[in-house]
Amino acid sequence: MEAAAITKPEREKNIALVGNPNSGKTSIFNDLTGARQHVGNWPGVTVEKKEGKLIFQGQTYNIVDLPGTYSLGAYSEDELIARNFILFDKPDAVINVVDASNLERNLYLTIQLLEMGASVVVALNMLDEARARKIEINIPRLAQALGVPVVPTVATRGEGIKELVATVAKKVRETICQPLKVNYGSEIENELDKLEQIIKQYAKLAAKYPARWLAIKLLEDDMRLQEELQKEGARQVLDQVVKSKKQLNEILGEEVEAIIADRRYGFINGLVKEAVTRRQTLEERLTLSDKIDSIVTNRYLGLPIFLLAMWAVFQFTFKLGDPMIGWVESAFEGLTGLATGWLEALGAPQLLISFIADGIIGGLGSVLVFIPPIFLLFLAISLLEDSGYMARAAYIMDRLMHALGLHGKSFVPLLIGFGCNVPAIMATRTLENRKDRLITILINPLMSCTARLPVYVLFTGAFFTAKQGWVIFSLYLLGIVLAIIMGKIFKTFLFKGETAPFVMELPPYRLPTLKGTMIHMWERGSSFVRKAGTVIVGVVVLIWVLSNLPLGVAYASQESLIGRLGTILAPVFKPAGFGTWEAAVALVFGIVAKEVVVGTLGVLYGVEEDGLTAAIAQSWTPLSAYAFMVMTLIYIPCVAAIGAIRRETNSWGWTAFAIGYSLLLGWVMAVLVFQVGRILGVG
């Protein structure tokens, strides 16, 4: 049999990687696939899909890293994705990463996998940590009790990975996999039997789902499956579910799902008792992690430490990133000069030279300037997450953020937004709940990023020299207030329904690994270039085309397409006090990057940056200038942020919404400022 299997050219084997968050699943994935990774999205959702290749003894394995989950229910997108992949994509084997130092809760997922009849190999990870906590696990006994291979690993040091691969290679050749049967007690078992019998009468259902598993899930009130059964017209099954639940409630006097969860944990308890010895009770020993927590989440020290950490992340990302951005910029300036000289020498037409230098190279430049802050931020975030501090940050900030209708984990992305909205939007990945994530993404551009500062400085310098600081501060404050209001509005009207539970694990503090951090950083940076980059280059080229056509016009003059667009748009901004074509064109350019507004005004007024303040003081009033700054703050996120929104929401619809609402809000606020100001007689 085996010889025949080897001689045949075998297809690629699919291996799924499943495990609790913080179980070291990502480390195992990195160990297995190295740099051969591909990051995408699961179709139609914001959840990221990671795949990688592994070649072992001439056989290629495609490893799919499923989202980290605690269970395989139907409440979260993550759980549904993981469950559907195992049920419908039928991977040849499932590697279940289990944290040995937290065995009971981790095995809860294992049991569910086994109940589904998945072909499981358990990677018993973090054995070093378990040993440090005096937890001794009898691995052969655990394997025997579970009925599947158990391979000890310490993924952060690459220990046990070879054995894991060999075990998986053996496992994929096994064909029969009997689902595990947890005994739920005679009362529930009776009802399960009845349900199973009826399910088996529906051929379509029986082919799609393991009958017993489906019966259990139905008793557990799984809404997705109930809906599906309704669509399939499996009336008899649903009727029996209602009857069974009623019957069980009468006998057991408690809700069935609690009893099922209880029995599962009871089963695990039995396993753990058999295979694990603890040489010291956990209660007696204060772990190092507990000691750190007693300081880091301390009632008085917790907040200051948190703010200090955030300040450090911010400084690290932007103070360290700024000079690097300078390098990228000067590199691109050099490149532009080089290309221009070279093309001129070849005698290329001026328009082509400009297209390549300003359009293409300029476009690429505006993507790559984001690389330093994105890499640095994700280096910092990766350290925060892998060390376990990110969970504490959410824990500390949740009270405040929850009052605003958000989640504790929303704080970090919003704070980063003051530096740059692009990495900030990408940082919303840490939020598991889709609603919380979308709201945090949508309001993020209202955090006044550093690119808007040059605009504020220019206009306040021209009109508010005495109170420059206060005026700029008022704009930052306005952004925050609007973010809070919009967040509430979105929550009330767009994302109705139950608030997501906060119930969150506080994992023990761990030392992050260099490899994990580097891969995480590289992944984010490169995915930004690939996914958001196309959008950014596209828009930059489009703006170039608009500024240079029709042929023969001066760059961005009133006769160019963009100038004509500005002339058409100008009346729209009249109620806001800046109804000139120059202002409108500057705003269009501002979509490329908000600081470009300043340069554009310089070109349009025909002055250098030094003379700009004087030029502006002539054609604007303090009030219209303030309204214009408000507009610059709010209207349309810059193209890089748009690219990031598109990438992170995985939806053009939400991207369009983010653009549309901010444009409308910006206009309304600018008009409000100007009109109210006029009535009050300011300016």
Partner: protein, 228 residues
Amino acid sequence: MTSDLTVSPAMQDYLEAILELAEKEGVVRVTDIAAKMGIAKASVTQAMSTLANLKLVKQERYGPIELTPAGRQEAAKIQRRHLLLYRFLVEILGVDARTAQKDACLIEHVVSPLTLARLAEYLEKETGIRHEEVGGINEGKEAVAMEALEAIDTRALSELKKGDRGRVVRIVAAGEIRRRLLDMGVVPGTEISVEGAAPLGDPIEVKVKGYHLSLRQKEAAAIFVERL
């Protein structure tokens, strides 16, 4: 006889308390219920919204609580069940009133309708009185019931202080929160200890099954524990 069983034991306790207060005071407020049952107002508010969802109580915002006809029927049924058990313990088994009161409180949540029906038949045969004809329980029931409750010391997890330990008795949340808690190992019978609270007071940190978990106060209010 079957509909009451969709109401969880904790909710049954609430209904019973509301009915008793309504009969004694007329108007029922969250404060009264909290005082009577010896639990936090936040827990009561949470429970009232659950009961309102089940259409068992009506409550205008910040107004008094009223039982709906269905709720009244439900509560009456629970009260009758309590009385039946109490009578059986006292009249047939000769248990003293105090113990009977305490045990009836416990048994009423787990006993099956079938057993109850047989008990009623047996009681009728032995005493010659139909259970339906018996009026309210004798004086002093409330005081005894309160004492009994205190003796078991069941309270919401949110009321425990740092360092306190308890055993999960039941979870009164529904939907996603309930599911999530069960998945995370917060199942009846599990030991749970309060490790602390965030600097702003909410959420709290607990230890369960050997690991640390954080929950909002509101979520902790839905977990009833027996203090250890």
